[in-house]
Amino acid sequence: MDISQDYFSCYGLPCDYSVDLAVLRQSHRSLQQTHHPDRFVTGSDSEQRRAVQITAYLNQAYATLSKPLTRGIYLLQLQGMDPLAPTNTQMPMDFLLQQIELRESLEEMHQSQDPEAQIDSMASKLQHQAGQLESEFAHAYDSSDLGAAETAVRKLQFIVKLQQQLDALEGALLD
């Protein structure tokens, strides 16, 4: 098992944005079955160490490829781009304004009469936007427009962050 190869190759998948999650999962399971440290408990120290490294690599690979955001970022990184670079802060104005609005409505939900309904409606709004950005990315990436792909994935990152904050808010409110 070569842990310097890219994540797609290790699962025998084409280096592409669209991934068959069932195949990915199946392939991940069977590689884990072979390489997990539990298979080497009676092995040598170096075998055990290697097993920990390989499994850690596989866990990272699976986590990266199984989510649309991290998969998109990873594809661009393979192309030598760095969509997460801190210097990379240019975003279209209308998108930023929309983000500020969403963030404000998230903050107002604390005082809301019916927070659950608002959370649900915002969750589906975000879900819809995420879906759109994913197809935008796929289209741009397939037509080798890496600049547009990068913009899409950076927008998606904003949305995913909002989704996480919404989840946390939901957790806090339901407790």
């Binding site: 399971r29 884990q32 079955q33 997990h36 440290p37 539990d38 408990v41 009676t42 920990v52 490294q53 499994t55 850690a56 690599y57 866990n59 990272q60 986590a63 989840d167 946390a168 939901e170 957790g171 806090a172 339901l174 407790d175």
Partner: protein, 627 residues
């Protein structure tokens, strides 16, 4: 016809001989050892047919320690030398233990690493040593029952155990001379005990509800083709059946207007009466609680307690467990409808109220056919059998997650998360940091575990130093810190300066860990304090940035301000710096951020001049091959 067997040197002469391995449930009140024999996992009894070994060790002056029932008999008359509930002390520091100490009769002494030592007639004993004595008794029982030497053991730990507690458990096994095949989380072991992976068609999500005497664990697992994968784990490490007893005892005290100031014997009396009543109400609808034999002058009349009344008392406590369960379902991103099976673990799940509430939440009956006291040991035995290599073909694989987030201290007492909790293990993550000051040659690495944003609210696991970093301008060094967590959940941290290759690494081996109450508080507080933490964090971050900028500019001005700038330029920078110091001492992080920006702009040109100058100076007088 017997086949001739030829064995190469170093190979086993009997390749098909079954390797002997056991599963050990090293519990707070009692421990068990189990093994797979003729395809069945079973707990192993001692010669008197007892399966549960009380987790009690009594130290004697010139004899080997007594373990189990024999030791238990001396809890009262030789309290100082008879150690019980040592699991609560594992991986704890002396300070944590002092807080637990009220009802512990031992004399503690601190050793160099802050680990508490118990002063007994047979010398100072660490919790690791006491646990090792229990493990030795279990291994002996295993070897005599199975008739041979063990290749190793799977030892179970609560899913909630942090790195220090896991490490202490592994150290105890090492001390007892046992090869640890794996540290396995108790809920995972319980799920395995039910053999759910044998239903070929079955792939589904399982909830393991583990309510013991003092702790509550809830884990959500996914099972698929022989692979058990923990999706999320949560709970409350200060919630358990003991709380039931206290609640009932408190009710009795108030009903009979017994004064709140009770001596130890009176407390014990009330608790014993409460526990008896609780257990009785599992079979009948109402019970009489009799105060005859009350250790005091007052006389109290009998009390009637109905099951409904008791349920009313206990419901808020069970409700806490139900809420923690819902939260963990959310963490696992599954809904109640996704749960195919519920496995019950721990003596307190015998409570009918608990079973009803769990069934009510999941809209199905939980599995209760395996004794909830033994289910963990049985699962560990199955896993030990697999790991020893006794199973062939389709194999069982257990995948765990990190129970609590790991991070590093950064400037201003903030924690930078490196690995989030509930990340599948083994895992390796690297994070890059840089130096804070010009010419900095060492960096302290402080490893923390917990969910909060500030260092003071997380558990310190380890501190070490990376030395010998070549002197560079602030921000020029690149220090990569790598965390690696193995399948047992044990952490190893290494650090390397990338431009020079200077490296340091530690097997994180802390002398103490989290106290139960601390874990519960930390988890709870991380939910309630998210907002407060965030603004505190923003303020601290801006303050750190401001300090860094002020310090860097002050030092730079002292060094070469006169050489590179006019007096007027210098004064302009100093004015902005004063404004920044004023903002920094306020509470408004927006104001600080704004002033940092202004200040940075004011000193940008100066910084560029310095950079040029420093490069020229560095290159001056050096031959090309020296660079």
């Amino acid at each position: 016809m017997a086949l001739l067997q030829i064995a190469e040197p170093g190979q086993s002469a009997k390749p098909h001989q079954r390797k002997l391995a056991v599963g050990i449930d090293l519990g707070t009140t009692h421990s068990l050892v189990a093994s797979v024999r003729s395809g069945q996992a079973e707990t192993l009894p001692n010669s008197r047919g007892e399966h549960l070994l009380p987790s009690v060790v009594r130290y004697l002056a010139d004899e080997l320690p007594q373990v189990g029932v024999k030791a238990q008999a001396h809890l009262v008359d030789d309290a100082a030398n008879t150690v019980m509930s040592v699991k609560r002390l594992m991986g704890r520091g002396i300070e944590d233990v002092k807080r637990l100490g009220e009802n512990m009769p031992y004399l503690f002494e601190a050793c160099d690493q802050g680990m508490p030592l118990i002063n007994t007639v047979s010398g100072l004993k660490s919790p690791v040593q006491v646990s090792a004595d229990i493990l030795r008794a279990l291994v002996q029982r295993g070897e005599s029952s199975l008739g041979g030497e063990l290749v190793g053991a799977v030892i179970t730990v609560p899913a909630y155990f942090d790195d220090a507690q896991r490490q202490a458990t592994k150290d105890a096994a090492q001390l007892a001379g046992i090869q640890v095949l794996r540290l396995l989380n108790e809920p995972t072991a319980a799920a395995v005990a039910y053999g759910l992976e044998h239903d070929q068609q079955e792939q589904g999500t399982i909830a393991v509800f583990d309510l013991g005497g003092g702790t509550f664990d809830i884990s959500i697992l996914r099972m698929e083709q022989g692979v058990f994968e923990v999706l999320a784990t949560g709970g409350d490490s200060a919630l358990g059946g003991d709380d039931f007893d206290h609640e009932i005892a408190e009710w009795m005290r108030q009903e009979r207007q017994i004064p709140a100031q009770l001596d130890l014997a009176q407390q014990r009396f009330l608790l014993r009466l409460a526990r008896g009543g609780k257990e009785h109400l599992s079979d009948v609808q109402n019970t009489t609680l009799s105060f005859s034999g009350w250790p005091g002058a007052a006389v109290y009349s009998d009390l009637e307690l109905t099951r409904d009344q008791m349920n009313g008392l206990l419901d808020p406590i069970v409700g806490k467990a139900i809420r923690a369960t819902k939260r963990t379902l959310r963490d696992a991103k599954v809904t109640i409808g996704n749960i195919a099976k519920i496995v019950m673990v721990g003596g307190s799940t015998r409570s009918l109220l608990v079973q009803e509430r769990v069934a009510g939440l999941f809209q199905q009956q939980p599995l209760t056919d395996i004794d909830p006291d033994r289910v963990v040991a049985l699962g560990a035995a199955r896993q030990a059998d697999v790991l020893a290599g006794n199973q062939s073909g389709e194999e069982l694989l257990l995948l765990d997650v990190l129970p609590l987030s790991l991070g590093l201290e950064t400037m201003g007492g903030l924690v930078e998360r490196v690995i989030d909790r509930n990340t599948p293990i083994p895992v390796a993550r690297a994070q890059e940091f840089t130096t804070y000051q010009d010419g900095q040659t060492a960096m302290a690495i402080h490893v923390l575990q917990g969910e909060r944003e500030l260092v003071q609210d997380c558990r310190s696991l380890s501190r070490f130093e990376l030395r010998g970093i070549p002197a560079m301008a602030a921000g020029a060094a690149k220090i990569r810190v790598t965390f690696q967590v193995d399948a047992d959940g044990l952490l190893e941290v290494s650090a390397r300066e990338l431009t020079s290759g200077v490296a340091a690494s530690v097997q994180v081996k802390p002398s103490y860990g989290l106290s139960d109450v601390q874990i519960a508080d930390m988890i709870k507080a991380s939910w309630t304090n998210v907002e407060g933490d965030r603004s505190a964090r923003s303020l601290r971050e801006q303050q750190v940035d401001a300090d860094r900028l002020v310090e860097a500019v002050t030092m730079a001005l002292a060094e070469d301000g006169d050489r590179l700038l006019t007096a007027q330029e210098q004064q302009g920078i100093v004015d902005q710096m004063e404004q920044l110091v004023i903002a920094r001492n306020g509470q408004d992080h927006h104001a600080i951020a704004k002033q940092i920006e202004v200040m940075a702009k004011a000193s940008d040109a100066y910084a560029a001049m310095r950079m040029d100058y420093s490069i020229k100076r560095a290159l001056a007088g050096k031959a090309v091959d020296q660079l």
